[in-house]
Amino acid sequence: MAAPNKKHDKPTTGHSWDGIEEFDNPLPRWWLWIFYACIIWSGIYMIFYPAWPLVHSATTGILGYSSRGDVEAEITAADQANQVWYDRLTSTDLNAIADDAELQRFAVNAGAAVFRAQCSQCHGAGAAGVVGAGFPNLLDDEWMWGGTLDDIVTTVTYGIRNDEFPDARWSEMPSFGRDELLTPEEIDQVVNHVLNISGQPHDATLAAAGAEVFDYNCSSCHGIDGEGDIYSGAPALNNAIWLYGGTEADIRATVNNAHFGIMPGFTNRLSEAQVRAVAVYVHQLGGGQ
């Protein structure tokens, strides 16, 4: 029969805190076995997986595993899974995509990814453009070259005013001041006319004279009432939206020197499905027509 209180005879570590001592208990044996098992495991791991750093690389292990390879395989698998959707996107009529809720959802998400990678540099991550600097806001209700899905696809495919594609949209505003097509007085008058039709403070006398100047020089593109024309990419001047700024100084600068905004065409960089996806994405941002 065991002696009573045998536990109290166990050796202590010799440490004593306020009279509290610590037993020097042995570790459980199974803990030791787990420790040995871990050592063996690490040996096996080093054989099968990358382990030892070398100067420029590391040992590869006999499985040839790498996390980069993992990512590549995942990307390939994701692309393959998406291929079905891209096929549907190209085979469906552009205006019928919205009727297929699933396809629309895919197009919006895929288009958002394309937009972030290809478009956001100029048009901004939120597609609001840069107001006054010539990068159009894609959220508002004015489209210089048309805001239907077909129009957007054409614009994305070939771009604006670039020599690369004959099909690119093209127009050029004359530099009325720099090329002396209008006198400074006439420019004064037409600027005040534009301020008038866009509902801003102006000199009524100058504006009245400017109406005639506008009629002769500007209305063939910008329209009789300054309502703009999507076939020549002439922005509406009778509203609150300005691509290069709407103050008197901004308008004067535009009439004097004109602007020639260029957008690249994406047909060589994006697949047809990607172009359609980004068009669907832009179309549903609030401005689509």
Partner: protein, 475 residues
Amino acid sequence: MSSSEETPQLYQAREPVFPRRVYGAFRTLKWWLMAFTLGIYYLTPWIRWDRGPNLPDQAVLIDLGNRRFFFFMIEIWPHEFYFVAGLLIMAGIGLFLFTSALGRVWCGYACPQTVWTDLYILVERWIEGDRNARLRLYRQPWGAEKIRKYGTKWLVWLLIGMATGGAWVFYFTDAPTLLRDLVTLQASPIAYGTIGFLTATTFLFGGFFREQVCIYGCPWPRIQAAMMDEDTITISYRDWRGEPRGKQRKGEAEGSHGDCIDCMACVNVCPMGIDIRDGQQLACITCGLCIDACNDIMDKIGKPRGLIGYMALTDESRERSGNAPKSIWKHVFRPRTIVYTTIWGGIGLGLLVALFLRTDIDMSIAPVRNPTHVVLGDGSVRNAYDIRLRNMNAEAREFELSVVDHPDIALSMEGVEGQVVLVGPDEQLNQRVYLTAAPGTDEGNARSTPVRIWVSIQGEATRDYRDTVFNGRGQ
């Protein structure tokens, strides 16, 4: 202990514990608790609860795939996770309460490690016999009998482990379907993997690690020390009554020994393999089996019961000096436990109120901040909001959105005509919503205006609102 010059061993093999069978009040209580807790665990997934055609009919279901938690008439969505957090906090405070009042009562009676170990020991006893038979078999060299008995025992343990892992996965998907899939080998690898893992842990923890889980692995015994005080009810050996221990021999004077006859009954029944007469110790889970064992012996030798018993530390000195102990109730009802109970009950009450006050619609608004606003051709100002509508109902319903306080702000939705949108049964819908302030209005010109967006259900009185901000041109 041998001489102190001997080098102490660095590593120590486990000393196997062979608890002897015991009868008594605490043992009976433990059997009932085991049946009750295991019954809840194994049977709950099979209770059905009709929720209509669009929702699962399992009473308790953690639907991770669809992110829903079903508990009888209650359905919890992910955004209502505070209910789960509240229940976890209540569980924590409940442990504080029980520990400060009754010591390690959780460890001794309700902890899964204790319950399953108890079940495994029961199986062991059925197959190999009681303590002495098991000890004898353990010391026997391997032979036909040992292989047969150990093999049978391990097989039964494995089956219990499989049932345990199996019951666990039933909580996460429709139980009858999953059982059919499991049997026909159609179930997902995750299900088999989970069952395999839990089978292995149950088998190892219940069959082999046993008391070592509590002594080496579990943080709870360490934490509990901070929650116990001198009023906590715990198990004690009344050494002033029992010592000096030993058997009354012929020729020895009456009264030369205490009540303890050193029969080792309390040690032999202990599932932790400790001697309670050494005093309260970390390894004691206060399961009460030594009390049952000792009471039995006291009855046999004609001494009063209670040489080992539940008592508080303050009573020890009281009893030692011959005074009557305080009643159990006075120990249990003290400021500390009352505070714990109040907090516990307060949280519970709060959760109940929240549960009954919640509506079955929900809306959250994320204003689009890039850009903050868009100026349209006619000079009106438009803000966009990503609105999340949740229809926490088994029927599809039409949600109507509106702005009431600002007549100059119009509400429209992307891809939807009008202000009404259909949300499917038990689904959530992400909808882009536009608010447009008419040209020249205060809202359009101000930097920002608070607005309230209302959501209501067509044909029902249910409605709710969220406050957000409308950004104008800031002129």
